[in-house]
Symmetry: C2
Subunit: 336 residues, 2 copies
């Protein structure tokens, strides 16, 4: 399978390492032979139409901070030029999410789809701003569009709701979809101030470069958009979400929750309306998890309420969900 | 789809009610038209080769406590005679689990498979005592064998581990697989004695007629057998499980857990060995859920640890997992 990889951060590098370490197994067990033809990061690109050397790719990135130095030539082509000039089967989009115009991811994805490439995205921006139209574009161009890693990292939340609960109608859901704010709120519950808890989370590398994505609830809202479209069949985008972050949460709010035998969590919910907002959750509710965990509770018509809890981020974890998407595409292609 | 239903307890009755209330939707959305040709309970049977009237079936059961009075004739045929004489596509086995000889479920299932019928079982007995050989028998007779409802009731635990985590290797798992013991232990943690907590659970109808199934861990062990075979590819049966129940748990054990900031739970685990035993679980661990909830944490090679929590029992919930199995069979048949 010929792959173009957009972005080469932690997740993309973890993916390349999974390709390497699981090479034999992927081929023998699933018939998957990933061939990465092109990779680019913000500084430049590496291209080899017969397939890049994955070990070298990682080494170059570690040494120079960019894949640009992979070879002498071809290293200044921009993402879109590559997508136009290199023939591949799948685009894997891993550039950073932004919720203003979703670029450059949006252009990568639409360009690839129009060229007939299947797309896997862990970039939430394009989905948050244009889920319905991207699905239409994929259908129109008869390509597959997968995004398991956008919600829950390695925890297959989307797949669970869509497949394991097939034949069942989900009537509502609510969850903690952002691990960073959960970490901050969990620490505030032990007595830290908001500023100290934020600083601690930053020191550990949990907070996005643009902290607003976490603190103002944008990351959670983006995931809510994806869930609402994919699981509930709604046609919504970011502006449809009522979104309140955690910046205004005070120690008093935390204490008030405590007196109600509850904990304060940033909850993304889909019931009568779509909302991200701090809410009290009873301590013994399955959603009352601490640390960086994500948790989501689906309520269905006949199967009761079911909660899934897992790490919502992490390089290897998110890379493993890209791999699942790739195996799905491999399997679908094999059917035809 | 022509169905024979073995057993007519709470789950089976819930299933019939689901068939009724979702009739239109099942047909329009999934092309499923369930036709129940025969039902039997411990007192007798109801048979109509052109399909029983579901509403009448429920009414008769409620009025007489048995389906035997459905019509004047045919009401004394035993389960096996029915299986031998009535041509159907699917057997749904819902008689009570027993872990001595797994009868009458075992004979129902093997008879149906040998006749080329697909089998759905929510009876854990046959699977606990003979999982490997039942799978072989199903393969040999080219029939499908489904048992989603045996673990987690309506919570699709088996499906999640097998399908949502495809492409991923589960290395170990541990969980609370019996809601009754969780309820008892949760109440003991609030100060009740074992006897009082047991009495309360019995009053609420949570305890099996044979209380040993819950208290001695047999129910949890049976589910562990099913998980170990289905998820981990092991070939094990009940005697392979080290099993300790909760009868010997004292208030002191509960207090000791409390001082470790933990809670005592009956944990079924598959790591180096297969074991059911009371264990301390940290209070803020996702497995530390109270009440009658079930919870299971799967640890995988690349996607971290993921926990699913849900009601592990309930008529409608378990019936909805039978329905999922039936839809799967419907879909597979449609492919051929």
């Amino acid at each position: 399978m010929r792959i173009i990889l957009c972005g080469f951060g932690v997740v993309a590098q973890s993916l390349i390492k999974l390709f390497e370490s699981r090479e034999e197994e992927l081929y023998s067990k699933y018939g998957l032979k990933p061939r990465v033809l092109a990779v680019f990061d913000s500084k430049g690109s590496a291209i080899d139409q017969s397939g890049l050397n994955l070990e070298k790719l990682i080494q170059v990135k570690e040494k120079f901070g960019t894949v640009k130095n992979y070879s002498e030539k071809n290293n200044s082509m921009k993402g879109n030029e590559i997508l136009k000039n290199v023939e591949a089967d799948v685009l894997i989009e891993t550039t950073a999410s932004n919720y203003k115009d979703a670029e450059p991811g949006m252009t990568h994805i639409t360009t690839a789809m129009k060229k007939g490439m299947h797309v896997i995205s862990v970039n939430k921006g394009p989905l948050a701003l244009a889920f319905p139209s991207l699905m239409e574009l994929a259908t129109y161009n008869q390509v597959m569009f997968k995004f398991s890693g956008t919600v829950g990292g390695g925890t297959p939340i989307l797949d669970y709701a869509k497949n394991s609960l097939r034949g069942e109608k989900i009537t509502s859901f609510a969850g903690i979809l952002n691990g960073t704010t959960n970490y901050i709120l969990s620490n505030m519950a032990t007595g830290l101030s908001f500023d100290d808890a934020l600083k601690d989370a930053q020191d550990r590398g949990y907070v996005e470069a643009d902290e607003s994505l976490d603190l103002d609830g944008l990351d959670a809202a983006a995931k809510l958009v994806i869930l609402a479209n994919w699981i509930m069949g709604m046609k919504v985008t970011m502006p449809d979400i009522k979104c309140v972050g955690i910046r205004k949460v005070t120690i008093e709010d935390i204490r008030k929750a405590e007196t109600n035998n509850s904990v304060l969590k940033l909850i993304a919910s889909c019931d009568k309306e779509l909302m991200v907002s701090p809410k009290e959750v009873p301590k013994d509710d399955p959603l009352g998890v601490n640390g960086t965990l994500n948790a989501i509770a689906f309520t269905s018509e006949h199967s009761g309420t079911q909660t899934i809890i897992g790490k919502g981020a992490g390089g290897t974890e998110t890379a493993s969900s890209i791999l699942r998407d790739l195996l799905d595409i491999r399997q679908e292609i094999a059917k035809n």
